[in-house]
Symmetry: C2
Subunit: 382 residues, 2 copies
Amino acid sequence: MSLQKEVVEKRLAHFRSRMVDKGVQHTLLWDPDNQYYLSNYDAISYSRPIVLLIDQKEMKYIIPALEEDHAKERAIADHFYIYHEKIQNNHLDTDYRTPLHTIINDWEKGAVVGVELDILPASVYQILRDQGFQIKDIGQDLIDLRAVKDEEEIYWLEQAGRLSDAALSASFANVKAGMSELEFDSHGDQKLLELSSKEFSGLIVGYENWTCSGIERSAMPHLYSSTRKYEENDVIIHSRQVWINGYRAENERTFFIGKPTEEQKKCFQLAVDAQQVGFEMVKPGVKAKDVDIASFNVFEAEGYGQYVQHRIGHGLGLSEHEEPYLRFDNDLVLEEGMVYTIEPGIYVPGVGGFRHSDTVIVTKDGCRSITKYPREMKDLMF
Amino acid sequence: MSLQKEVVEKRLAHFRSRMVDKGVQHTLLWDPDNQYYLSNYDAISYSRPIVLLIDQKEMKYIIPALEEDHAKERAIADHFYIYHEKIQNNHLDTDYRTPLHTIINDWEKGAVVGVELDILPASVYQILRDQGFQIKDIGQDLIDLRAVKDEEEIYWLEQAGRLSDAALSASFANVKAGMSELEFDSHGDQKLLELSSKEFSGLIVGYENWTCSGIERSAMPHLYSSTRKYEENDVIIHSRQVWINGYRAENERTFFIGKPTEEQKKCFQLAVDAQQVGFEMVKPGVKAKDVDIASFNVFEAEGYGQYVQHRIGHGLGLSEHEEPYLRFDNDLVLEEGMVYTIEPGIYVPGVGGFRHSDTVIVTKDGCRSITKYPREMKDLMF
């Protein structure tokens, strides 16, 4: 199923009015998630660039030949410029830069071009600069637009949340000492794919897991799951993102095999309490920084502030991590429809890592979590 | 397990001598795979930039606080610059650009700085340019170095190939009408994780599948696996990449549920024959273009050239697709130790898509495949 056409067209209208406000005549978009958001076309694009060009009148896509059918079936766009990679078509464009030059040669001299300055490759930036265009960053506008989710997006986020809970249940139903981090993940994966296949047809579902087991690995917040096998008395952080139709939920739990130590129990409870403070803080009108600081203070009050290594949460939607961030230096005021992870954590050498993550939608007067797996110690000892 | 220290140091020495040849005094690397290749540190870095800076004397890493322990445990580097994201440390650097400015302020005025021009974000390019440095593309040098694999890399590639074969066997052992593309994938995933967990400890294993079923979906080469359920008489392209310790094998098979039509049989056999021609062409001294053209001509001779949409193959190693490409316009001469996918395909409207992909290592006098799943029709009808 694709996003409703009118939903995408509404987004595009908002984006175009931002362009006008900023004095941007043309926009060149590189990020696949931004492209999907404004065109409904979810490409696989790593070694063959796909470029989306937007002005007030038209939307143009530069597409490799092997994506042509897919793009034309899905994308809301006015023109497609296809480039080829076989000898039979070597009289046509064989590099994405050829149609790019064709398109920008038609632009007014010295026009203002909007780009995602933190994403656009330097080589493409050089092409625009060498043609004498003025370049303006339009990345923040896309962040702003994407930050507040519409009904369509919230529907898919909720599906992702529910499916992620089912996956966690399946992993935990099978957990035991001697299984590897990756085997633990795979029980959840299988359940997720079985369930989503039963409920939906013709939809893309995906997932990513990072499971860090044992005192040493759990104390590092960012590691891919490995073949390390669970041991008796391990502390483990299982992190899972699930996406459906592009939209993601993040669902993470710290759990134990066997008996936690007294200090592990204390750290676990602090992480639960800090997360609870986060849930209670999130509502429209509150500043992003205040959520982060309030949650941090739960650890700090007990002398564990030094073991915090990261912000309390990030935006979520189409990308793994989206701005805006719930971070101590972000003055952004939260709005209804924003989506954040709430995931305060501490990483204590010799003791382990402790972090749950849930994904919440900001509501009219608070927030609601789309991930609901139990969070208490009693539910997370195996 | 990490790559052997001396292996990585040898790579670094090669890269530094390339820098000298090019007159590049400092290199700034952004791509995580390039960073891993030269430092042995495999970061998860999507919303927190990690930057590697190399000159003739030193290697410096800019690292977010939550990666500090992991980086210091793994990376071969002389200095680490840590940036933070909690209020307790707000007197320290809280943005990666602060240490970046500190480092580049020490560089000689007007120095030549090597960057990956097709990867580096425009905003970082601007920082370097605004400081008056001369910027040179060093991306091709990394492509060249990475293209020829060393013994360590070939060992892991072979493991990845063997594991991918086991995954395909498990998926095919369970295939039936009524199961979804994603469920088919998941049987292979589970086998892969079980087997790799049994054989290795403490290693990262990952995978990616794209399974496109039915006439319409198989005829589009690039689609994520979906919840679409297999139907009687489907033609299906199953594509799997498996990686272990960073190194990837690609393994793809076209298969049938029920009875293929006469035209589907013909197209399938053409894809098998075109791949065979590819295997036979690959050897040191042959040009990349000639492999692509010879394989294309198998389709062309039977009137199917118009249904070819992509080159015969891409390089493979640490990234999903690596340059160099086996493409009609690439004069590159193949060398022993290079690794390529051989994957000619045709996508015929109303008939389906037909493509196998295998990963081959260029040997002294030919090539050998690290993926060995059977390729003939009789093995691929279910």
